[in-house]
Subunit: 338 residues, 2 copies
DNA sequence: GTCTGTCAAGGAAGCGCTTGCACAGACTTC
DNA sequence: GAAGTCTGTGCAAGCGCTTCCTTGACAGAC
């Protein structure tokens, strides 16, 4: 592997000149710059990242912390982050918890402390106080996507407002008895959305002067199967007679659509269903949803962090709200008495 | 941030002794080792990874190359790799193509050359010759999961055999006219499975003396929506009258199940459907499938690579076959004439 | 009582880069 | 024409580790 010394020799300049030429410093004559670039090219030279890091303290590397990779939302945010980061020549180090407490602990006690990353993006994680302290001690830019991290910049949708909007949509269609498929305790541990969205639903109901029954809440685990099971209960108990369901995620909403069909009910004639997320599959299932765009949010998050790292942006902990959009499809319709 | 010098000072030893103590070298008295460990602990010392790398040439970092993160199979393999890697104290650098040719190119012309990773795991990518050459020149252990990379070790299922097994399952149930929902040209570009699985289907049919019609092949893009569209065509053309469908992935098979239902057909009474993968959702949809376990494969892949890196395993390019399992659920049944 | 071998610990080089400082020469400016 | 300002380049220190080589202390062998 070629070292910078080889490049310098071949271009007939000193090592320092070679370094400056390759890094695009001013005060290098165009002619020299060209010779160095050509020498590097012909030798296939690529700077060793560890030497670069040791000398500069910069890593060209951003860490991403998230609870699961294999779920649609997280994977999609990650894809967005990665594409923007790579375009800027930045590496991405992945730290996911994989649902394991010890893996999670090791991220904070070991990995993050290795000075391997210049900045951190967290995706919808709900941090414990001592984890937060680790983050602050790192003294590196931190950006939280999809859920606030105290003291850090944030990029998120208004989850509360999104849930309220979805619920108000149902209410505006004349629905009065609206069930909620929300998060169970396990999912609340891992990320923040469940309870915030629950709150939006409650406020929409309250503001519209509608009563809410505890029996209209059906906890689930944010998966299709979970939403299916919850909806089956919700729709087959004759005492409840909800005419619409709001699911706190599209995946659960899709499960609800499938459950309704399996119960011989027609969507939306017999039951209206609305979700949140704008999941890839929501269009396929004709689901009315409040869409966010995780991929674009990820890309934007990377952009914000890159801005801070390049010094263009101040590192102030700003709270950026990502726009949401109500997409009405064929899973919701006007209420009519059975 | 504490440096090793601080640790040494605090423990009252030289830097070199501190280093050896922290790395568990022999020839350090137990007493000294303890003092150094305690000093490190109390200072919250973590070795700088770039200094470590520069001095040793080792990175404690494995790169993972894959075409998409947000698809179930890839995300799940990735989760498996990550969990095993973290357990060994290894970082993971993510390089995905994101469906972008230039992003893909930059992985090979830039990122991989930075000496940032000790080894590479590729997931189901179909490498171009010049990409392969880059890999070989890196002179680092490479492991290919889910699809061979010439000259590298491989961990994969027998895709050909899996497809054959799925098809033979249908044949053994008396089906004769079996449609194939396989890969379209776009998906064949990105990864290898489509055409291999196609081959397995053809061989099963041929060995059983069954004719195959070109009109029984329905290309799709390996998604639920794609499988749905393909199955709708397959099942609604009266000239075809296929009694069973083999889909080259569970996601397409799920789409097929939904299409059948929407056409008013009963699964499996009116049409049997089988997939490949053992997708998280396959159980939910009662899908008969040939299951692999991407998560376990990922973990195993990481383990194999770690073995090579630690010197326990030779770096010989072995081809490891991961077992597959036919899981019969409620989407397939014995053929009976309409 | 000297010699050799073993063990624990330290000195210092070196990994491959960046960058502050020094310096030589060319170009202004009065 | 001397003093001062730019420009372009080189020297060498230093980033924080690991590890080869050496040293010193001590025990057992002769």
């Amino acid at each position: 592997m070629a070292r910078i010394e080889d490049v310098a020799k071949r271009a007939g300049v000193s090592i320092s000149t070679a370094s400056r030429a390759l890094n695009g410093h001013p005060r290098i004559s165009p002619n020299t710059a060209r010779r160095v670039t050509e020498a590097a090219q012909s030798l296939g030279y690529v700077a060793s990242s560890s030497a670069y890091t040791l000398a500069t303290g910069r890593n060209r590397n951003v860490g991403v912390v998230l609870p699961y990779i294999e779920r649609w939302y997280f994977g999609t945010v990650l894809a967005g982050i990665e594409s923007r980061l790579m375009r800027a020549g930045y590496d991405l180090s992945l730290y996911d918890f994989n649902g394991s407490a010890e893996q999670r602990a090791s991220v904070f006690t070991d990995f993050l402390l290795r000075k391997h990353v210049d900045a951190l993006i967290t995706v919808a994680v709900r941090l414990e106080p001592h984890e937060l302290e680790v983050l602050h001690r790192l003294d590196k830019p931190v950006l939280a996507v999809g859920g606030p991290v105290p003291g850090a910049a944030t990029l998120r949708i208004d989850d509360f407002g999104a849930a309220k909007l979805a619920t108000l949509h149902l209410i505006s269609l004349g629905h009065r008895r609206i069930g909620l498929i929300g998060g169970d305790t396990a999912s609340e541990m891992d990320f923040r959305q469940p309870e915030t969205r629950h709150g939006g639903y409650l406020e929409a109901m309250a503001e519209s002067g509608l009563p809410v029954s505890d029996t209209w809440f059906f906890p689930a685990d944010f998966t299709i199967a979970g939403g299916y099971a919850a909806a089956k209960t919700a729709l087959s108990d004759p005492r409840l007679s909800v005419s619409a369901l709001f699911a706190a995620s599209d995946e659960m909403a899709i499960g609800a659509v499938l459950a309704a069909k399996d119960l011989g009910m027609k969507v939306p004639e017999d039951v209206s269903i609305v979700g949140i997320d704008g999941h890839d599959l929501s269009e396929f299932f004709g689901l009315t949803t409040v869409a966010q765009s995780p991929r674009d949010q990820g890309a934007r998050a990377a952009e914000l962090i890159l801005g801070v790292l390049s010094g263009d942006q101040p590192a102030s902990p700003t709270d950026t709200l990502w726009p949401i959009e109500l997409i009405v499809r064929s899973s919701t319709t006007r209420y009519h008495a059975p």
